[in-house]
């Protein structure tokens, strides 16, 4: 994903580079979930920036959202189901 515009003009800046991606901002719990999704599917997270920020592949954002919804829905207490069982 390194784009052609690396800033290699001066010797001191040989390594500096700009990398395209999607910055995801979320709370730490969601971040942990995304890391978990990445562990299963790979190639989602390009870089882990800090507790609340991740750099991810722009084409995978929809997939991440979908997976998140699926994982979060598992943890929802649904009062209707319980009543139906009674």
């Amino acid at each position: 994903m390194v784009l052609p515009y690396t800033l290699q003009n001066t010797s001191s800046l040989e390594m500096a580079r700009a990398r395209r991606g999607m910055l995801l901002q979320c709370d730490p719990s969601i971040r942990a979930l995304i890391v978990q999704i990445d562990a299963q599917h790979n190639d989602i997270i390009l870089e882990e920036l800090d507790d609340t920020h991740l750099l991810v592949d722009p084409s995978k954002v929809e997939f991440i959202k979908h997976e998140l919804n699926r994982l979060l829905s598992k943890n929802i207490y649904n009062p209707m189901e319980e009543e139906e069982e009674q």
């Binding site: 001066t10 700009a18 959202k65 929802i76």
Partner: protein, 505 residues
């Protein structure tokens, strides 16, 4: 509030008409009377003082009638009269500004008031024919409720006519899903359901006008007809012979909305319904909408001297209950366990509730249901916002809930007179959870852009990150790791800057 809003939208439409069209409108006495009714209060007063006075009068004289704290209303009144071209300004020999009433309007308005030459603009009554009121009421309410029910998605045998569907789609109150060709309510549509009936009718009619213009129908004919409908008497029969061709065509559409009734498609007479009468009247005592409760609340509001903005509505509900009047239809109780009980018989109320509540059982005078994550999420994905749901629940809260909330607040005030707590009619857990469910839909926020990294020294890092921050494109940075993230829009600027600055070294 909503009545003001309605006036605003109708007046706005009239004001935007080109002047020649406005003048042609003023040829109809019934239209003049209806426009007069839509004017601000102070403007009505000025009109009355000018209508039998043929001479121009000094604007300064009108100004003298107004107290200094009413200058804003004065300006508004004059502005609305001017933009409707009801008054024409001119300067007298001393250079003072004079105004006079538009002569066409003056003549028609005089005729409307005195019953002079009204030229059939108030319809032609056929005395020999009449119709029972209950047939009319039943017809208009079934037509109108079919539209409202269709909007909330009640499964029904009858759906509104193709014209109505087209209108709903064009006014963006509903959307057609491409894959299934099904109609779905939009955010605006939900807002529409909360309005009072005459605001709803006007919303649809204004949209009708906009569509009619594209069919080359004359807006003057249409407006005259609409305003005429508002001036007719319910229960009487009116002849269709005097109507223009455009107006004859309109009859069919007006039938679809429930504004007029005809015994058969090519009958020579039509009967206006109570919906039509509402068009130009302020009377909101017709309980056909989801928001009839809101109306009574707003009216009572003026009497009450309640302080908290959130609290005022419930106060008035108390008044309603104390005065021995029946509790509003659809009064509901929400418990902290998210269970909801609504005392409603109206299928429409129930249908609206079903947009965001999982309804379980229906009894003779109430329905019970549960607010669940799924039910709220369905509503949210349909474009209804959490705030709209909360506002709906709050305005329809049962007086009992209100009383409980007031008692709680009083207790808190006794303990701590300075408490900043406001009246909480709904259980805070429920309100918070509904908001959280909305937030949950967007658990991650995404920004497209570029990550800058691998800087050799902090000078270069600081130079670039500070520039990005200054032009407002910096979204994230970490000084220790010497990395920062720039939005897509700002990236080229930062790159240019980097090349310029770093090359100079």
């Amino acid at each position: 509030m909503s009545a003001d809003h309605l006036r605003h939208s109708v007046n706005q439409y009239l004001e935007e008409l080109p002047q020649p069209v406005q003048i042609r409108l003023y040829e109809s006495p019934a239209t003049c009377l209806a426009i007069y009714r839509l004017l601000p209060q102070l403007a009505k007063f000025f009109m009355m003082s000018m209508v039998f006075n043929e001479n121009f009068i000094l604007l300064r004289d009108l100004d003298r009638w107004v107290k200094s704290n009413g200058k804003l209303q004065f300006q508004e009144a004059i502005k609305s009269l001017k933009s409707l071209h009801l008054i024409t300004p001119k300067k007298n020999e001393n250079g003072a500004l004079m105004i006079g009433l538009n002569s066409t309007f003056r003549e028609s308005f005089k005729n409307a008031l005195t019953g002079g030459q009204v030229n059939n603009s108030f319809g032609v009554v056929i005395e020999s024919d009449s119709i029972a009121m209950d047939i009319l009421n039943e017809y208009s309410s079934s037509k109108w409720e079919t539209i409202l029910h269709f909007m909330v998605g009640t499964p029904m045998a009858s759906i509104p006519s193709a014209n109505v569907l087209n209108l709903l789609k064009n006014s963006r109150l509903m959307e057609e899903t491409e894959s299934t060709a099904e109609f779905k309510i939009t955010n605006e549509g939900f807002q529409f359901l909360l309005q009072e009936a005459n605001a709803q009718i006007w919303t649809l009619l204004l949209q009708y006008l906009k569509m009619a213009e594209s069919f080359q129908m004359d807006p003057v004919d249409i407006l005259n007809f609409i305003f005429m409908l508002g001036a007719l008497e319910v229960g009487k029969a009116y002849s269709t012979k005097e109507l223009s061709d455009t107006q004859q065509n309109m009859l069919k559409d007006m039938r679809d909305y429930g504004l007029v009734f005809q015994k058969n498609a090519d009958a020579q007479v039509f009967y206006p319904t109570n919906l039509a009468i509402m068009l130009t009247s302020d009377n909101k005592n017709i309980h056909r909408t989801a928001s009839n409760a809101l109306d009574s609340v707003v009216q009572k509001n003026k009497e009450g001297a309640a302080t908290e903005s959130a609290g005022t509505m419930g106060d008035d509900l108390d008044d309603v209950a104390l005065q021995g009047q029946p509790i509003q239809d659809g009064a509901l109780i929400v418990e902290t366990n998210f269970k909801l009980y609504s005392y409603s018989n109206s299928p429409l109320q129930i249908a609206i509730l079903s947009l965001f509540v999982h309804l379980k059982s229906r009894f003779a005078n109430m329905v019970t249901g549960q607010i669940t994550r799924e039910s709220i999420r369905t509503a949210l994905t349909n474009g209804i916002t959490a705030e709209q749901i909360i506002a709906y629940l709050e305005t329809h809260a049962h007086p009992q809930m209100r009383r409980l909330a007031e008692e709680n607040l009083e207790k808190k005030l006794e303990l701590d007179p300075n408490t900043k707590d406001t009246l909480q009619i709904l259980p805070p857990t429920v309100v918070d959870q509904i908001r959280l469910w909305q937030l949950e839909l967007d658990r991650v926020i995404c920004y497209d852009g570029s990550l800058y990294s691998d800087f050799e020294n902090s000078t270069e890092f600081n130079l670039l990150s500070k520039y990005a921050q200054d032009i407002g494109v910096l979204l994230w940075k970490d000084d220790k790791k010497r990395k920062f993230f720039v939005s897509k829009e700002g990236n080229s600027q930062v790159l240019d800057y980097a090349k310029r600055k770093l090359n100079k070294k």
